[in-house]
Structure formats: C-alpha cells, structure tokens
Amino acid sequence: MTVTVKTFDRLADAASAISTERGAHFLSGGTLLMRAVNEADPAIKTIVRSTDPAFRHIAVSSARVELGAGATMAAILAERELALLHQVARAVGGPAVREAATVGGNLFAPSPYGDFAAALLALDATVTLAGGYGERELQLEELLGRRDRGATLVSKVTFRRPPGDAFRFAKVTRVHPKGLSVLSIAALLPLASVRITGARIAYGAMGRTPLRAKAAERALEGRSLDAAGIAPALAVAADGTSPSDDAIASAWWRREILPIHLRRLLLGADQV
C-alpha cells in the first residue's frame, strides 16, 4: 500500500529497474512524480532513484555542452559558462522549484510545462538514454515524439555550443515573474555575415510536446533579421502547431500571439 523506494548507485541499474518493473517510475527532481505519489496515483508502485554523480554532471567546453539529466535548473544557473541557458533555467518555476527541477525531468513534463526542453530542441540537442545494456543516443526531437511510450531514462543531454548571441529565448506567461507558459519560443539564429543560415526555432506549449517551427525556419533561410526579412517567417509561424485550450490560455490566443512574440524575439526589444 505504500510506495517502495529503490536507490541505485549506478544509473544503468536504475534504468534496468524501471524497464523491468511494472509501476516503477524514475524520480528526478520530483516536482511531477512526488505530486503524483502524494495523490496516491495507483500507477506508481515503486520510486527508482539514483545517486550516480555522473547523472548530475555538467561539462562545458568551447564547442560542446553536456548536461547530466539530473542537473538542476539551479545548477545551470550556478554555472557561469552556461549563461546562454540562464534565462531559460530561470523561467522554470520559482527558486525552490529550480533547486529540484532537472534537465531530464523537463523533457518529459507535459505541456504547458517543458520550456527548457523547447530550448534544447532549438539547440539541436542529442539525448543519451541509459539502459541496462549500455547507453544509446537519440535526437531530442525523436525522443519527444515517443516520450509517452514507456520507460525511458535519459542520462544526459548534449549540444553544440552556439556562436555568440545566436541563441534567443522568450517565455510568455500571464503571471510574473513566474508562471506557466502561454507559449515559449527558443531560436537558434546563426548568421553568415547578415544572413541567417540554418535557423532552428522551437516552441513550448504550442502542441502536445515542444515542437519545431519548421516552416518558419525555412522561411528565414538566407534572410536578414529585419522587419522585411522575417515577414515570411512570421506568416507561417503557427504552421504545424497544435496548441490546446487550457486554464492558462486558449488555443486561439496562443496562435494569434505567436507571430507577434516571434517577431519581438527575432527583432529584439529595441526594434519592435
């Protein structure tokens, strides 16, 4: 009748446990799982956790960033080399939630949660899955597409460090400074001289999972970051999205304001 808690030194053993035991769930930050445990969710029979230090490890080089899936938002905020992600990490809950919420947990948080995952999607992150028989890698986008299908344990997330200020992020909330997403937008905007090449744009809360704005990305290709340059992208900004009505906002409003916030993000505060 109570929940069993199993703690493993090695993440791989934890991964085995959740893939073999029915009702076993991995505890990362706890903000979602512990709530379900408190509500006596009958699907949760066992809590699996790991004390593996690698799970929380953060490694930043000039070219790559590697985030252990157990790294918390607070840990990211404490890492000076990760300044590009600070705005994103700060957008996740209040300080107490940031101390608990992890990179890995955010990848599985249902919409409208999951703003950090949207940022990682724009950064073209790769996830590493832990398993009893070794690790394997997967594009984040692929993971998001199948995240609800069964026991998956992410051990780390890696991405190439973007140049200079090519990464931008905006989260739109009703409540400030902390609130659930109306939507979030993350954009990687590499510039070749003044032209965008290979933009990646991802949205949070615009579908069941964070998703790419592929039409807008294509429309930005070779364009400059000014009103005329981004106009075609704005016109297709909402293509492929499927936002929901929820307690925060309606699908209609999300779709209506998406291009406006995309414009503001792309042009920067002083040009809008």
């Binding site: 009748m1 109570t2 509500e39 006596a40 009958p42 505060a269």
Partner: protein, 533 residues
Amino acid sequence: MLEMRKDIFADERDDDLREVGRPTQRQDILGHVTGTSAYYDDHHFANLLHLKVLRSPHPHARIRSIDDAAAARAPGVKRIIRGADVPVNLNTLLSLIQFGKDDEPSLATETVRYRGEPILAVVATSERAARQALELVRISYDPLPAVFDVEDALKPGAVSVNPVYPKNTFDYHRKYDHQKLRFGDVEAAFAKADMVFEERYQMSPIEHAPTETNGSIAVPDTNGRFTVYTSTQALFFSLDTSAKINAMPSNQLHFIGGTVGGGFGGKVDTLTEPLAILAARLTGAPVRYRLSRHEEMQFGSPRGAERIYIKDGVMRDGRIVARKVRAYFDSGAYTRLSSYAVVKCVAHIPGPYTIPNVHGDVYCVFTNRTPATAMRGFGVTALDFALECQMDKDAVAIGMDPLEFRVLNAYRDGDMKAHRRVAKNCALIECAQVAAERAHWPLRDEFRRMSSRKGGGEARAEAVADRTLKPAPPGAPRTPASSSQRAAYERPPADAKSPASPARDMPSPAAPPPSGSTHGVRRFSSIFGTRRR
C-alpha cells in the same frame, strides 16, 4: 503609502482617543513570524484517521448502483460512510435562520447534480490508504442531461437541477422566483430620457484560494462529547450545522478554531465538519477531513458567476433618471448562500447614486455546477463591476467626464434610496474629490465644491423628479456638455522603451475634447439598440 485625511469630517469625530486609531502591532504577529500560530491541523492525535470522499465524475446523473465491497476490505480502511449513514442527510446552510428549504445532502444517494458532488466517504489509517480505497469503489451511473447557463436554466422545458426547487430558481416569499425592487416608474422615465442604454455583463466564478484549504479534525472527547478543530470562518454556524446533520445536541460539540489560513468567504459552508464528526462517532477515533488543493479549486464552493443586465435612462445634463437591473446568480446545484446574495444585490441597486426610478429583478438560479457561496464583496462585487462600467459608458455617451458624472449623481445625506431608506453618513463625493486631487484628475470647481452633506433630501428629490418629467427639447444639441477626459486611444501611445512614472506620463485629462471624433464610443445598447431620440 497610506495617508489619513483627518481634516475631512473632523467635526463629526472625537479624535481624543488613546488606543483607537493607533497603528498597534497585531496581537497574533509573533505567532505568525515564528510559525507557532496554531491552525486547525496543528493539533496532533495518536491514531488519527483520514477521510476522503468519492466525487461524482458527472455533472448530472442517476446513481444506479454502488459497489464498495472491495474498498471496505482494502488495507487501512476502517469505515465506509454512505448517504444512508448520515443522520440528517439534507440541509441548507441558512436553515438556522429560517431562510430557504433543506436541499443539499451531505452524501448524494440517488442523483448527483454537479461534477464533484460527494457520494461516499472512506475513513482509513492514512490519506493514502483512503485514496487508494476510493479507486476500488465501483459506481454505475445513468448520465442525465445537464444545464450550465443561467438563462438556459430558466427556459421552459429546461433540465430540472434541484428537486427542492424544480423550476431552477429559489423561492422568495413563497410566491416569486426572484426578489423584486420597485421604486418610481422606470418605464415612464425611459420614455422621457434623452438616451437609454442597455448592456450585458458577466462575472466569472472565482475561487477563494486561501493558502490553507478547508479542513477539520473531529476528536472523541471524554463524556461523549466531540472536540472539533476547524478552519471555519463562522464557529457557531458550523457547530450548529454539524449538530443538525448529525442529529446531536449542540452542547455535545466543542468547536475550536479562530486562527485560520485565509477564508475570503470560502470557509463558511461547513464542508468538512459534519462528516468528520460522523466518522469520529462511527469509528471512535479522531478523524481529519481536509480538502486537497485540487478539491478546493474545483469542488469547494466558489464565488458564483453572475449575469447582469442594466438599462439606464440618462439626460443630457448628466442626470440618471432611471435604472433597471436584471441579474442572475449562478448558484450551482444547491442553495448554500446564494439566496442571500440576491437580497444583498437587490439592496445594492442602483449603486451609490440617487436615481428617482429604479427597478430590479434578481434571480438565484440552479445549474449543474459546484454550488456557489459567499466571497469577499458577496452579492455586490459583480454588481459594482456592472454598475461602474455602465456609469462609464453613460458618461462617455453623453460626453461628460466620468468622475464628474458620478459626483453629480452621487447619493447625499437625506436622499431617498431605492430600498426606501433615507441615505445618511454618505461620503462618496468626498472619496471622489480626494482621489481625483491625488491622481491629478481635474474636477471642475462646481464638482470640487459639492458635498455629501449638502443638497440632498427633499429638494434634490423634487428637482430630480421635476426634471425627469421634462423631456429634452427636440433637436437639442448633441454637443457634450463637458468632456474633460480624453480617451487615451486618441493619443499617441506611450513610449514602450521608457517606463516612466505613470503619474507624470499620464496625459492631462483636461485636454480639449476630441474634435468630433466619437470613435470607439458606444452610443447605444449592444443588445437591443434602444437608443431613443
């Protein structure tokens, strides 16, 4: 931040006081900042049992069968309580003061009338065990059609929500389905008014959202009494309600509370005490029943939504000569306190203004949603929203400054109010003057000189009535008498980059009226378009 204007009404006050008027520290503050203030759940008992209720997933359904056998055998379960176990399973809160008929069961037996209505309770050794046992209860329902809109609920043939009030309205005086207010002759006044406006307003339901949810602990005491630690906002109200439902003499109950984590009206309904006491009687053990946050948000009673129609007759010189209000309180499936909200609403019509012709019809309507209850501003908040938006529209339409329009119509000492009591101790005008001065909202001299203490009573009533009956001359100029507040959308927007102090940035409301542009101004009813002349 707060300034006391002792100079105003000084002649009516004796300020020679020692303790009253001083910013003395709260008696309870040390407890609050040390975390030692004792709320109901800060009392601990060995072998405490926990009560959780099973709630209906349907807004309206007949209960065909309940199978709780597996739940009764579940680990930790001490007792299952069904409607038949409740000694008096029908109550209405205001029955203690003989207002309304018993219409709400503690646990539904044959029919559920809102999503979230309690059907049975599990008492177990932990909240977790109780929740797990609830998962094992099997209930089969025949879903029934439901009604969610107050006006739909009043249509002929509408689904009947509450069998005690089959027509979906509370009974007033055993003869009407609403409470009336009649003062003067609104129809005659509308016929003579320069302009008539009718508008529709919709208040949302609102959750009280106190940081502490509703809850109580009932403890069997020595000598057959029960001590009840409770979050109630109304100790004897809850005690007497609990005694009635449990068919117990009230002196068998000892209620302790008094320190509560916020209420705002949401802790009057005695949602948890009766069942906690019943469970303690049936098990002989202390029992806690507290609402989860999810329950508090969706199934604890909210402030009810209200739909309000207001029709005003206004003269070009700025006087309101008639006001007609029709309002519908969404009571949800049961009465609780909404019946009284209607009375309070009727008494509040037409707002703090002297209007010679007033007509009100206010309904308490049953729908298939969580029963509503009192909340801060009960019966008045929504009406004030509607009235004050309407006042603004009236003022804009006749081209008058909205604040001057209010001051002109504000009630004064001696005026007869619509509920037929003479106004006294008024201070609306002074509030308007003081706020306007602070906010640099320019009131013209004649409005700055007005007073709640001058010009009210017979003279004003006669003047108002007299002029009411005098129709405006045909073809009277439509030029606004004054329009000192210029709409901001007629101006360039503020510079978004420099959020300067709003006070300094506020464009002078004294700017000349927009030349001929009435863009955005609603001139007549959005509903019936009843602008006359």
